[in-house]
């Protein structure tokens, strides 16, 4: 089959690899119909995540049709399912607490050691990510093996478009959990750093969870325009002093909750970020947490910090004293996708959540390598890319024209 494979920093290729097979009783095999490139795939593309191996198949946002099932799978051939990026067993202590991304059994024994050493505990498993998280092949491919298929995949009712439900695999629940972690109260102003797909869903979710006002921060005009379309007030950090702006816009109090949807590769030329970038390129550090630092300084006293952005290791210049003196609360973590899929599918069906507005490109899988580069280099134009393995090369459509110009 065809699959998108990683070979090194800024080197991904579409090539032929063997088809997956059923290995365990609870497995299923899907024929992938839609798969997206995620912002966190860029961390892999940029070489920020250790323990990826040349030849690994990437992709953790995907859905498809069940074509084969193991003896203990509860799925049936022909069903259309969306698969959570977190591989969770449903049986362990963590899964029973619905902390699915912390599942103790998904990560095989052989790949658990490294993360146990790094993090103190073995991490949960995910599709198409580093071997720290299990080393399972991802779904940017024609077929994929899904372990614990009786727990993760959610069956999609007939007649619902792939585009409407695909993001149940990661970014929609991630944006939702980000807003939930902000513990939003009546009258709250929520500030969101990063208007990528997760940020945009966090904005939408924050309003759904009762935010009075959302202020979004980015520097790409088109992404800010999408945030505005979702009802947020917007700040281009190249244009305004973000800290002063947030204070002024909240009567001096500051945002009640701040959400860092940026993660380990902050943009911008702030002096701390330049130092972090140099360190990252010299392999002296992994994090560029400029956005998080700014969010903590911006947050009101006694406020909440929600951190869906991905980080991988040790950060320095962390405003620890500011965090303590202001009495902030931090909530974070990989998304417990399985906890949210059913509820969010309901909201999509009711038309309460718009999931397609950010898709700028729908392309065949064969163009994936080139699209990784576009996703990396042209973030203003490429706001979300969906790959369709079944799509003929000539039939690709670009939806850029439908995106509103910045206000």
């Amino acid at each position: 089959m065809k699959a998108l494979t990683w070979h090194g920093r800024h080197d991904v290729r579409v090539e032929r690899v063997p088809d997956p097979e059923i290995v365990n009783p609870r497995d299923a095999i899907l024929k992938v119909t839609s798969t997206a490139i995620c912002g966190s795939d860029l961390h892999l593309y940029d070489g920020y995540i250790p323990t990826l191996r040349a030849g690994d198949v990437l992709g953790h946002e995907f859905m498809g049709e069940v074509v084969e099932v193991g003896s203990k799978s509860t799925l049936k051939k022909g069903q259309r399912v969306v698969v959570p990026f977190t591989i969770a067993c449903g049986d362990c202590f963590f899964c029973k607490k619905t902390q699915f991304s912390a599942c103790d059994n998904g990560n095989p024994a052989e790949t658990s050691d490294a993360s146990e050493t790094m993090m103190g505990h073995p991490m949960g498993a995910a599709f198409g990510y580093a071997h720290l998280t299990g080393g399972y092949a991802g779904g940017q491919s024609e077929y994929v093996r899904v372990p614990f298929s009786d727990v993760g995949p959610i069956v999609i009712p007939d007649g619902m478009d792939d585009d409407k439900v695909l993001f149940l695999s990661d970014i929609l629940p991630t944006g939702w959990m980000a807003a939930e972690n902000a513990d939003i109260e009546e009258g709250d102003t929520v500030a969101v750093w990063g208007c990528g797909p997760v940020g945009l869903f966090a904005i939408q979710s924050a309003f759904k969870l009762g935010a009075h006002r959302v202020i979004a921060i980015d520097h790409y005009p088109r992404r800010l325009a999408l945030a505005k379309q979702m009802g947020a007030d917007i700040l281009d950090y190249r244009e305004v002093e973000v800290l002063e702006a947030l204070k002024e816009m909240t009567g001096g109090i500051g945002p009640d909750a701040v959400i860092d949807c940026v993660g380990m590769e902050s943009h911008g030329m702030a002096i701390d970020n330049i130092a972090d970038t140099v360190k990252a390129h010299l392999y002296l550090g992994t994090e560029r947490p400029h956005a998080l630092r700014q969010a903590i300084i911006a947050c009101r006293k006694g406020g909440r910090v929600s951190m869906p952005g991905v980080y991988g290791g040790f950060a320095d210049k962390f405003p620890l004293g500011q965090f303590m003196e202001k009495g902030l609360t931090l909530k974070t973590g990989q998304t417990h996708v399985q906890r949210y899929t059913k509820k969010l599918l309901g909201l999509i069906q009711e038309g309460e959540i718009d999931t397609t507005f950010m898709i700028s490109h729908r392309e065949p899988l064969s163009r994936a390598a080139e699209l990784y580069q576009k996703w990396h280099d042209e973030q203003d134009t490429y706001t979300k890319i969906v790959l369709k393995p079944g799509m003929d090369q000539t039939a690709s459509t670009s939806a850029t024209t439908r995106v509103a110009e910045p206000a």
Binding site: M1, A3, T5, H7, R13, E15, V17, P18, D19, P20, E21, V23, N24, P25, R26, R53, A54, G55, D56, V57, K72, I87, C89, D91, C92, F93, K96, D104, N105, G106, N107, P108, A109, E110, T111, S112, D113, P122, A125, H131, G134, G135, Y136, A137, S141, V144, R145, P147, F148, H219, Y220, R238, M269, I274, D380
Partner: protein, 285 residues
């Protein structure tokens, strides 16, 4: 495009600023040299400049040596101080241990004391929580035959009688080693302990303990293994492989046991990759 340009501009500005500062710093050293050159012979300016440069380097070099020496001494002093402190910490108070922790997490003098009582043999151990009742887990462990399902290097277990069994253990190069074990202690639902019989190629001793976890959380399962230097070339090879990281072995075997008991299968990342040497049905690391 405009944004990229901005970023580059900002970098250029910063670099220019730093360069300017470097130039200013260099100029600060300049005047003395220039004055001296003025009183020296103008027509031999080249030679004089070379001399002056040498002198400048010599002076700065001397300062650097002093600073280097000072820093070195300070570092060595600090290191000596902290190593001494760390060593004192490892020595402990002496006397019997007071911590409520198992022996396989001991360190420093307390570890030495414990090993002296155990003929110097290394003890490795690991505890996991398994979300099943102790009685059920005990049954699986007591039957021994299911070990190959979760113990990586155990190929087969043959039961000889109720207490004794023969283990086929994988050795490097595809060979196998036989180990005869005998159960020396069993408390239903709580403990199973075994030792290798004298004529085994590896001398090993193991113990598994089951204790109730807090309500609703299942069972704490603790695996303890003790190894002693083996006899024979093959035995040495196996022991080398197993002893190098017996801790890793215990950790992985127990994790697989937990996975098998809780999910009914041992998760494996077997899946397609572009690496020719791999099969999509076999585990990879």
């Amino acid at each position: 495009m405009a944004h990229h340009k901005n970023e580059h501009d900002a970098v250029t500005d910063e670099v220019t600023r730093l360069n300017e500062r470097a130039v200013r710093d260099a100029e600060d050293h300049g005047p003395a040299r220039d004055n001296r050159r003025r009183v020296g012979q103008v027509d031999e300016s080249d030679r004089v400049r070379i001399q002056d440069d040498d002198e400048g380097h010599g002076q700065r070099g001397g300062n650097r040596t002093l600073i280097g020496l000072g820093l070195g001494l300070a570092t060595a002093g600090a290191a000596a101080f902290f190593f001494a402190r760390a060593k004192a910490e490892d020595q402990g108070r002496g006397g019997p241990k007071i911590s409520d922790a198992p022996d396989h997490v001991l360190r420093g003098q307390a570890l030495k004391n414990s090993r002296n009582q155990e003929d110097g043999r290394a003890l490795v151990g690991r505890t996991v929580t398994v979300g099943k009742p102790a009685s059920e887990l005990y049954q699986v462990w007591r039957s021994f035959e299911r070990f190959p399902e979760f113990m990586d290097n155990v190929r087969e277990i043959r039961k000889l009688d109720d207490k004794r069994s023969e283990w086929l253990i994988e050795a490097p190069g595809g060979a196998t080693v036989k180990v005869l074990t005998r159960i020396v202690e069993e408390v239903p639902g709580k403990t199973i302990a075994w030792v290798s019989e004298p004529d085994s190629q590896i001398e090993t001793e193991g113990r598994v303990e089951f204790a109730d976890a807090p309500p609703g959380r299942g069972t704490y399962v603790r695996l303890l293994i003790r190894y002693t230097p083996p006899a024979g070339t093959l035995g040495r090879m196996v022991a080398k492989v197993m002893q190098r990281e017996p801790q890793v072995q215990a950790r992985r075997d127990l994790r697989r046991f937990k996975q098998l008991m809780e999910t009914g299968e041992v998760p494996v990342n077997a899946s397609p990759s572009a690496r020719k040497s791999e099969s999509p049905t076999e585990a990879r690391i």
